[in-house]
Symmetry: C2
Subunit: 383 residues, 2 copies
Amino acid sequence: MSDNNKKFGFKLIKTDGMARRGEISTPHGIVNTPVFMPVGTQGTVKAMYPEQVRQTGADVVLGNTYHLMLRPTAERVARLGGLHKFMNWPHTILTDSGGFQVMSLAQLRKLDEDGVRFQSHIDGSKHHLTPERSIEIQGLLGSDIQMQLDECIKLPSPKEEIQRAMELSLRWAERSRRQFEEMNGPLKGQGLYGIVQGGDQPDLRIRSAEELGKMPFEGYSVGGLAVGEPQEVMLRMLDITTPVMPTGKPRYLMGVGTPDDLLESVKRGIDQFDCVMPTRAGRHGLAYTRYGKVNLKNARHQDDPRSLDEGNDCPATSTYSRAYLHHLVRAGEGLAGMLLTWNNLAYYQQLMLGMREAIEQGRFEDFYAQTKADWAKGDIPAL
Amino acid sequence: MSDNNKKFGFKLIKTDGMARRGEISTPHGIVNTPVFMPVGTQGTVKAMYPEQVRQTGADVVLGNTYHLMLRPTAERVARLGGLHKFMNWPHTILTDSGGFQVMSLAQLRKLDEDGVRFQSHIDGSKHHLTPERSIEIQGLLGSDIQMQLDECIKLPSPKEEIQRAMELSLRWAERSRRQFEEMNGPLKGQGLYGIVQGGDQPDLRIRSAEELGKMPFEGYSVGGLAVGEPQEVMLRMLDITTPVMPTGKPRYLMGVGTPDDLLESVKRGIDQFDCVMPTRAGRHGLAYTRYGKVNLKNARHQDDPRSLDEGNDCPATSTYSRAYLHHLVRAGEGLAGMLLTWNNLAYYQQLMLGMREAIEQGRFEDFYAQTKADWAKGDIPAL
């Protein structure tokens, strides 16, 4: 599955409006963009076998530095041959910097210019995450696409706070880059992305994007969105930010989102996404389909012999009746989460494939309108 | 997968000592005996896709009448086309009578000559399970191999209690049979098994087996064992019971057991087994292998790059490192249960296949000795 390409690359194949069709090459294969990357927090995409994740069409999965540095530890993963081998995923892996989850999960956090000190939520052990250490960890994991350490703050926040965090993130971007070069990331064909911050402040977003654009990153992320603000604020920030981001590099909107978020963001020039939504929703009885979200807990499904969506390629979507899925959800059976996660990841990948084909054929606007119309129809009526 | 055979049958192909190699035919296929039947309590073998269960070599799975009658209810399953279709298992299904789980799970149980009244452990709703109702439910589910209602009591118990329950079970056997014929079970090619009771009392076991043998059942179960007594008591009861059971009918030892129980019981002429052990153990971090039981929670696995058993056909057994499995178990990831259940069911099926081949080739004693020797070696040493 992996190829011998040892140079990280991005090829822009086609644009349609702001929407872009591209290809990222990494040491572990080609990533077709726009791409959705399933989240494999602790070295596993929850409730899925890795081969299944691949079969849904995923070119890349995400690993979380915060979780993996605590358990099983980056050093252990490295001794065992790296994260690809450890989790049986021979394709591309992207890792975050760990910063976001330190701020949301760890205890007794203390952030200063140098980095962030915290205690593990698992065993209370003390850790110090700096830009350098984050890159070191991501290198030990063997990640193909790495992220600079940044400070991501909640919205709303006062502008001076947003500005302080954005400027700190710029200084950390430089330190992250230096460490990445020192570890020979570029020679290994790995990529490091800088992260645009600036909250909901247009001028700060623009300055962040411009400053990062001057640094030699392999790609650029948009961070600090989908952190509590309405969708329209997020989209306005994209409208402002993507035009000042380098066109020849991939653009990754971190932690986003709903199917509608993906459609709207591709329209605004985003190439990469990750989100726990399809996997988490699947474990909570929610299915994503062409016709929107279906809550399998609902009693209206209990006698329904129809599948979620007949004729769909995914067995979880087309083989099992809604009545059976409803039963599994109500009975608390693990197979419910297994089947609904599978369905949801398959749907997300089908949506991305639809977007990629539409952009290639110059009909993204039509695809956008048709997809929205299908969602608006809602789920098929109960029997 | 199903065939057109509408007559329940049992063919004894070969015997080797007391061990028997046979074939049960049901409306949903051939069951090669000795057979292990994975337990699909609530219409799902926990943490497994049905296709996977089949791939491990399972010819038949078990459904629990008590659970299914309460949720989603037998009437609903029947409306949806029966249990095979509901759970996407087109092969043979065996159901128990519900009696055993009423006595272990339900609330406010009251047993009399007519049957047992109880309240659901899920919502407190009131139910009355009689021999007739149990067969009606199993017919609604569309079960290929059905069980009479019996009274199974814990060991040790006073002899008069054991005798009372055994005699009640004989009367219930007759009522169950009458209901089964009335519902045209035989015409549908389904089978009904009588259940030998008698606790740890040789004379009661013999009387129960002899009386049941006079009734026209398609098969005979041995119940009331593996309910707290030492293995040697169970094996002594088998030594006494199987010689007085009809040779031309399959013999099913209910709720058993460990790999060693299976080996010892096949040696004593048992053809069918079911047990939650491989699935439940899998969800608790325990793996069964050629070399015995492996506790993946144990820290000795944390740096071990070796799989559970190299060269094994099951991907769960041969692809993933012990270090990874240990990590998944410690992190509480669902994939741990998915992979270890898969490994365990595959091991159980491999053990049964080994026994079937050995009996065919007249070398069961050798197989028995070799298997015990392998288990005695214990797991491979830690690195």
